[in-house]
């Protein structure tokens, strides 16, 4: 579904990604783990078209997308929930959701999807007229995921969805992520620092170190791998 080959991204003189190769197949949950500053968010921004690769190519459904503007990439079916949730604080919950469907032109489908995300997260329905900035961290994460789903993506990119949330909320959000993947066949690319959690829901994983993919394997093998356990699982 998504293939990255030799992708290099740099900010000025600082090189953030050095030739990343990566593949995500349709219907999978794939995770990318790595330390702070390894280049995980940059990699997602490169897929979404907000960080331009200076070399390499990104292929989505057989077509190269690395030179497309961000709105064309969303239209092709890639949505991202960025790190820190990035809710529009001065817009209501409902307006935030409606903006998620900005690129769509099927009002009936948008209404159906609004009902669908309200069924996934009923709390959002009861808070739909509240300003986004008044929600708690967990509710904001639910809103951010729902907003991304409103574009009806075939590939959902999630950047650190567990960051700063209580364990019970994290469990709830991860079970919803699995549900979306199973019910809608939405492919999920999950970037996490909480490697233990991420590898439990994912089928495969990549390890990113200093802008390079240093390891890739099935999630189970990575969970058992001595180096990964020491570096990322804290055991």
């Amino acid at each position: 579904m998504l293939k990255m080959r030799g992708v290099e991204v740099s900010y000025g003189k600082i090189c953030a990604l050095h030739g990343v190769d990566l593949e995500i197949r349709s219907g999978e949950i794939v995770t990318l783990i790595g330390a702070n500053g390894a280049g995980k968010s940059t990699l997602l921004m490169a897929i979404s078209g907000l960080a331009r690769p200076i070399q390499g190519c990104i292929e989505f459904l057989g077509e190269e997308i690395q030179a497309l503007p961000p709105n064309r990439i969303v239209e092709r079916g890639i949505s991202q929930v960025p790190e820190g949730r990035r809710i529009f604080p001065q817009l209501t919950v409902r307006e935030n959701l409606e903006l998620g469907a900005f690129c769509r032109h099927d009002p009936q489908g948008v209404r159906d999807d609004l009902a669908y995300v309200f069924s996934l997260f009923p709390i959002l329905a009861s808070r739909s007229q509240q300003l986004g900035g008044t929600l708690s961290g967990g509710e904001q994460q639910m809103l951010a995921i729902s907003r991304a789903l409103m574009a009806r993506p075939s590939l959902l990119l999630l950047d650190e969805p567990s960051l700063g949330l209580a364990p019970i909320v994290i469990r709830q959000i991860f079970s919803i992520i699995q549900k979306i993947n199973q019910e809608h066949k939405t492919t999920v690319f999950l970037v996490e620092q909480n490697a233990n959690l991420a590898l439990k829901v994912a089928s495969r994983g990549y390890v990113l170190e200093n802008g390079r993919v240093t390891m890739t394997d099935s999630a189970d093998n990575l969970l058992r791998h001595e180096g990964v356990r020491q570096a990322y699982l804290g055991v």
Partner: protein, 300 residues
Amino acid sequence: MEYFLELFFSGLTRGSIYALIALGYTMVYGIIGLINFAHGEIYMIGAFTALICATVLTIWGLPPLAVLGLSAFAAIIWSAAYGLTVERIAYRPLRHAPRLSPLISAIGMSIFLQNYVLLAQTADFVSFPALIPDFAWLEPYRSIIGSSDLVILLTTAVVMLLLTILIKGTKIGRAMRATAQDREMALLLGIDVNLVISVTFVIGSALAAIGGVLIASHIGQINFAIGFLAGIKAFTAAVLGGIGSVPGAVLGSLLLGWTESFATGYISSDYEDVFAFALLVLILIFRPSGILGRHHNQKV
């Protein structure tokens, strides 16, 4: 009391014109964080377009209200085209440059447009036809409010209402508010930010053009430099209300209009600008972000 009411309405009229211009400053600032110093010139170009159009249409023998309407329409289209073009050639290429660069580019654009109109037209004041007819039924109240004041107030009220509907109730309005709050996130949602910025410039320029036509008809003369002082005053009003805030721009404009009007009426017209800018200094001392300005909370 009658004198007070007269000053009240003349301040309200002034404030309405400031508001029409100030909205362009505040909306552009809200979305791209730029003080568009060429905005006053867009207003001046609107007034000149209306003058040329009104002259031709009057020769054709159309009734004054039709002339006013058509000239205003032409001014809106022409000014919007200028606003759009200025953004394309002077600001968009500098989108990722340091903040000072587009600011200097804006000042350059302002000087360029003033001199272009100076050369294309004339350096002298030219008289602008009184397009707003005197309403007979307003005669008993003539000492308090004139018919052009009334037309300015009503037009401004309708325009503000339409603007509010656009910003609050439409898809592009939502996209504008989203872009103002978090441009990168707006991009991630597939919002065409360049389009949103263009629309903002078009709306701001159209509002300025309406202000230009109304004030030119009210005062009766224009020249190439009217955009400068009007622009500075409207900018002051926008800062007073809290730059970036749409209701703030309207509130700041009305306050400024009343301050000038009452200072002129009760003290002396020599002190009009002194009071206007003293008000700005006072507000900025006690509320640096303006009356309705957003506080810049640092996100954790």
